[in-house]
């Protein structure tokens, strides 16, 4: 009865639209109403062959679907545990102080081709109330059998214009790469019949060496005029190469005693002046601040290495890195042109091979292995095109070309190496997060790398040398 009345009121007469229904709905008012699934009044539904035959692909996909669900179940369980036990909050509570300025926490990263490095990191981001930071780290495994580092900086203690930083550390790298010296083509280790003299023969063989490095570096960064800063630093280092690498030790393939400092190690002091001009800007307000769209990044440095004891070092190091960011379209399609020159003035037998400019790896001359080329001078040209994918991701494709030279006078447009590839970068609103890169070269090979360092980041250049 009640429904008939409602029907007449609300629909039957048409003019009922606009009438006010009862103010509240309660259990008594709907007692005679049907349950929700029987409200549509459908006696028979339209037929659809496609819908009726869906059981066929559903049946075919049943097993894969169940298999995927099974595979996903541990991930779901882990996600639940992550939430249920508030792992991030527990982590912060366990390893950081309440204000988040001090913490001791585990670190782990996978270095491409080397495996897992894990350890502990201590940080204090505001030691004396002016943003002075302290970082201590110890980790083991992967590229570094042992890795210890410490740094401290002045924060805002010297004002906004100056920053003083002291950094030191000790590293043991048992599997660093050595491909000889020069721009030579690579041969397999099986083809090597006698050891190669790296000072006169540029044959490249994939070998490894072990390096123990201890260093201390003091630097003062000063903001000069707009967009320009200068960094003065002095670094003291000790490097030892006397112990064999884990495998394919370079001593078996090269006459390494021809290399400076190999037997007694190297001891040097390296003061350096670096000038940086950086007026890069983002393309628009909706792009991550980590992604530049226009402007220049010009970076040049000059240093002098002086060896002690058996280290023959007594040379200058010079470099210029020019990067031009061109907004191609709408502030997030960006062309980046880059020229890099890096050189030393020493003769090959007067400089530890590890101090020679090098190319290869995920940053410089991509598409080649790390440290694939080294010599007295390295030149690099790069064209990279970046385009925004989503709010948090940017894709890029690149062509890198370059080579190393015995001398700058040898420069000619011949036998250049060329790498190419692309990748995807992830970034937050304010900072770069990570990138995945796929690269190859005209000499073959395929290199997949995951990195937490951007290719075009100033800090990376700063720390790289």
């Amino acid at each position: 009865m009640r429904w008939t009345l409602v029907w007449v009121l609300l629909v039957g007469g048409g003019a009922a639209w606009g009438q006010t229904p009862p103010a509240t709905l309660d259990a008594r008012a709907v007692a005679d109403a049907p349950p929700p699934e029987r409200s549509d009044g459908v006696a028979s539904e339209d037929e659809s062959l496609a819908r009726d035959l869906l059981w066929v692909p559903r049946l075919a996909l049943y097993v894969p679907r169940r298999a995927i669900e099974l595979v996903f179940e541990p991930l779901r369980a882990a996600s639940f545990v992550w939430d249920r036990f508030r792992i991030p909050e527990r982590f912060k509570e366990a390893f950081f102080n309440e204000s988040g300025t001090f913490g001791i926490f585990p670190v782990a990263f996978v270095d491409t081709g080397f495996g897992l490095n894990a350890g502990l990191r201590l940080m204090h981001s505001d030691m004396f109330g002016a943003g002075e930071s302290l970082l201590l780290r110890a980790s083991f495994g992967g590229r570094y059998q042992q890795f210890y580092s410490a740094s401290i900086d002045s924060g805002r203690r010297l004002g906004n214009r100056f920053k003083l930083k002291l950094r030191g550390g000790y590293e043991v790298g048992p599997q660093d790469a050595f491909y000889g010296i020069g721009n030579g083509d690579q041969v397999s280790r099986d083809q090597v019949t006698q050891r190669v003299d790296p000072l006169v023969d540029d044959t490249a063989i994939s070998t490894q060496y072990r390096k123990d490095l201890a260093y201390a570096k003091l630097s003062l960064e000063a903001k000069l005029i707009r967009h320009t800063k200068a960094t003065v630093s002095v670094e003291g280092r000790y490097q030892d190469f006397s112990r064999p690498a884990d495998e394919a030790d370079f001593n078996n393939y090269y006459l390494v005693n021809r290399l400076a400092g190999i037997e007694q190690g190297t001891y040097d002091v390296y003061p350096q002046l670096r000038l940086t001009f950086d007026n890069r800007q983002t393309g628009h307000a909706y792009m991550s601040e980590a992604m530049s769209a226009r402007g220049f990044y010009l970076n040049g440095w000059l240093g002098y290495a002086k060896g002690f004891r058996t280290d023959p070092s007594n040379h200058l190091r010079y470099a210029a890195d020019l990067q031009w960011f061109i907004d191609v379209l709408r502030g997030d399609r960006v062309l980046i042109l880059r020229l890099l020159l890096d050189g030393v003035t020493a003769d090959l037998d007067k400089i530890p091979f590890v101090d020679l400019p090098d190319l290869g790896g995920p940053l410089l001359l991509r598409g080649y292995p790390i440290d694939r080329f080294r010599d007295r001078v390295a030149t690099l040209g790069s064209v990279e095109y970046q385009y925004n994918l989503t709010f948090q991701t940017t894709a890029y494709v690149f062509i890198d070309t370059g080579r190393v030279w015995r001398s700058l006078e040898d420069f000619a447009f011949e036998r250049f190496r060329m790498g190419f590839g692309g990748g995807i970068m992830a970034h937050s609103r304010t900072s770069f997060l990570a990138r995945v890169q796929l690269a190859s070269s005209i000499d073959g090979g395929l290199f997949v790398s995951f990195s937490l360092d951007p290719v075009y980041d100033t800090r990376t250049r700063e720390e790289a040398k």
């Binding site: 429904w3 409602v6 029907w7 609300l10 629909v11 039957g12 048409g14 003019a15 639209w17 009438q19 229904p21 509240t24 709905l25 309660d26 259990a27 008594r28 008012a29 709907v30 109403a33 349950p35 929700p36 699934e37 029987r38 409200s39 549509d40 009044g41 459908v42 006696a43 028979s44 539904e45 339209d46 037929e47 062959l49 819908r51 009726d52 559903r58 996909l61 679907r65 995927i68 996903f72 991930l75 996600s79 639940f80 992550w82 939430d83 909050e89 909706y286 379209l329 709408r330 095109y385 385009y387 925004n388 994918l389 989503t390 709010f391 948090q392 991701t393 894709a395 494709v397 609103r429």
Partner: protein, 555 residues
């Protein structure tokens, strides 16, 4: 096998009956405008919300198996024979079915009383969850509220958005909390002796004056000491957690329609597109086990939409992201579509710019494309939403008058008139854009009435009625009738729209058999375009013999 036999076999096999009205038939009964999902149930368990798991499920871990289930684009459930949503614990027809006064829309679910009249407020504790400042307070009447604030760097925007969306959603028919903008002074706040602060682990400690001052230091306080906040009255009942984005609540026997199949949830996508509400997730819904207003012995679950502060462009503004409203926060689809284009494809959000007015988010009519709306996180009811769901929602939202919208914007109490003006103008423009788009995806005929003798069927063309497009001169309606067996009855008619977009077909004769069951197929032609048909199912009421509409299906 003869050709005719083969044709019959193919026809039978494919289900493509010769009749253009298909096999759909309705029961000859009154249209259901209320369902009974208020049967008494014992208190269900609280549904725990694990955010990391929720997002992993929504993005991948449930989404992939779900895709392999090959859901077939099924029409929404929870509708009546007229393809409308009956009143339930989820949705109550308001502006979609009846006239609402400007004041009623402005007032929302509340009584219209300003909670700031009942100060001082006693703080019972701090809000748990979310990054913003909030207190649990009691006013002098003992009414309990959550008192929320805008970010210090961003005054007005979030609370204003919440109020506007909350009022509009309520008028649409959804259950929402009673929220109000309040202005008060520091002296209106008192910390209760038993007030507590809860940390993220649920640990409690006594709340101190310092806690209050520390929190107030994080919000904007005007030069005259005035503090703007938003009160959200505690919902009555026992909170049971959020609404799952698929399936039903297993311990609620009244919850019988899978949530991703509910018309009221699926249709919400068109409304949220209008309002640029992208913060759509389980955590922004809430089930309450409530006591029936007429019988204290009866309890059932009522379903709420909550927390709209990031709507109206708030997410895009605070996150500085133009893709909000177009793509998920992590959107593999756009990533994969963009990757091979090398940036040559200009995505639909790239021309959108922040309006040059304060206090409003990245909310504009420029660049708005209703069909591209995507919430920030996967929300399965929206994945299932089809043009019929969106049409249903568009019919509701277009019924707001400019006066009603301006009244709602007034409730947000923007401090600058140009902000309010921008917000009202943009809401109206996007309202019309939303309706225009979805009215073009179906045959937008509605408001069907049948004369007492069953010979005259009248209806509104919603595109014309709301003057969304100047197409009256090129619009015509063409109808044919079929009997219960799907055979043509021979009746045909053509009609033209009147001034207000209403048209009538005449001369319909219901057949004698099967209680006069007839199917009137109406096609609309606009210019050179033929819109998909609407089928009206008519029959005589068995006892009185009076003709009536018993069902409707849009194609």
């Amino acid at each position: 096998m003869s050709g005719r036999a083969l044709l019959l076999l193919v026809t039978a096999a494919t289900g493509c009956a010769a009749s253009p009205v298909g096999q759909l038939r309705f029961v000859n009964r009154p249209v259901v405008w209320r369902v009974n999902d208020r049967r008494p149930i014992p208190r269900p368990a609280e549904r725990s919300y694990a955010q990391f798991l929720y997002f992993n499920d929504a993005y991948v871990l449930r989404r992939v198996p779900r895709a392999l289930e090959l859901r077939s684009g099924r029409r929404a459930m929870g509708v009546n024979a007229m393809d409308e949503v009956p009143d339930s614990t989820w949705f109550v027809n308001r502006i979609g079915r009846r006239a609402m006064s400007v004041d009623e829309v402005r007032r929302g679910p509340g009584t219209g009383e300003d909670p700031a009249r009942f100060t001082p407020w006693t703080i019972k504790g701090t809000k748990v969850g979310g990054a913003s400042v909030g207190f649990i307070i009691k006013d002098t009447r003992g009414v309990k509220y959550l008192l929320k604030f805008d970010e210090k760097s961003n005054p007005v925007m979030e609370t204003a958005a919440d109020i506007i969306v909350q009022r509009l959603l309520h008028a649409c028919g959804y259950n929402v909390p009673e929220d109000n903008i309040v202005h008060f002074k520091r002296s209106d706040l008192r910390v209760a002796r038993d007030a507590v602060v809860r940390d993220t682990f649920g640990n409690k400690r006594p709340m101190t004056q310092k806690d209050l001052e520390d929190n107030l230091a994080r919000i904007h306080i005007g030069p005259d000491g005035a503090i703007r906040g938003m009160t959200s009255r505690f919902l009555e009942g026992v909170p049971l957690g959020g609404i799952a984005i698929e399936g039903t609540r297993p311990d609620d026997p009244n919850d019988r329609i899978p949530h991703d199949m509910r018309r009221d949830l699926r249709g919400l996508s068109a409304i949220y597109a209008w309002l640029q509400q992208t913060d759509v997730k389980e955590a922004n819904t809430l089930d309450m086990w409530v006591t029936d207003p007429a019988d204290p012995g009866v309890h059932y679950v009522k379903h709420y939409q909550i927390d709209f502060g990031m709507a109206l462009g708030g997410t895009g503004y605070t996150g500085k992201s133009r893709q909000v409203g177009f793509a998920h926060a992590t959107d593999v689809k756009y990533l994969l579509l963009t990757l091979p284009t090398f940036g040559l494809w200009v995505r639909p959000w790239e021309d959108i710019e922040q309006p040059a007015v304060p206090e409003v988010g990245l909310y504009t009519a420029e660049g708005y494309r209703p069909e591209l709306y995507t919430p920030s996180f996967p929300y399965y009811p929206f994945y299932e939403a089809d043009r019929f769901d969106s049409f249903w929602a568009a019919k509701i939202l277009i019924r707001f008058t400019p006066e009603q919208i301006r009244a709602v914007v007034d409730e947000a109490r923007y401090s600058e008139a140009r902000s309010a003006e921008h917000m009202a103008r943009t809401l109206i423009e996007r309202q019309r854009m939303t309706a225009r788009y979805w009215f073009n995806q179906v045959n937008p005929l509605d408001g069907f009435t049948l004369s007492d003798d069953g010979a005259r069927l009248c209806f509104d063309d919603l595109t014309l009625r709301h003057r969304l497009e100047p197409v009256r001169g090129i619009t015509s309606y063409h109808a044919r009738a079929f009997d219960h067996g799907g055979r043509p009855t021979g009746w045909r008619d053509t009609a033209l729209p009147g001034e207000a977009g209403r048209a009538c077909l005449t001369g319909i004769r219901l057949p004698a058999e099967r209680q006069g069951y007839s199917i009137v197929r109406v096609v609309t032609r606009r210019g050179g375009r033929t819109l998909p048909p609407v089928h009206l199912h008519l029959a005589r009421e068995p006892r009185s013999g009076r003709p009536r509409i018993i069902g409707l299906r849009r194609y």
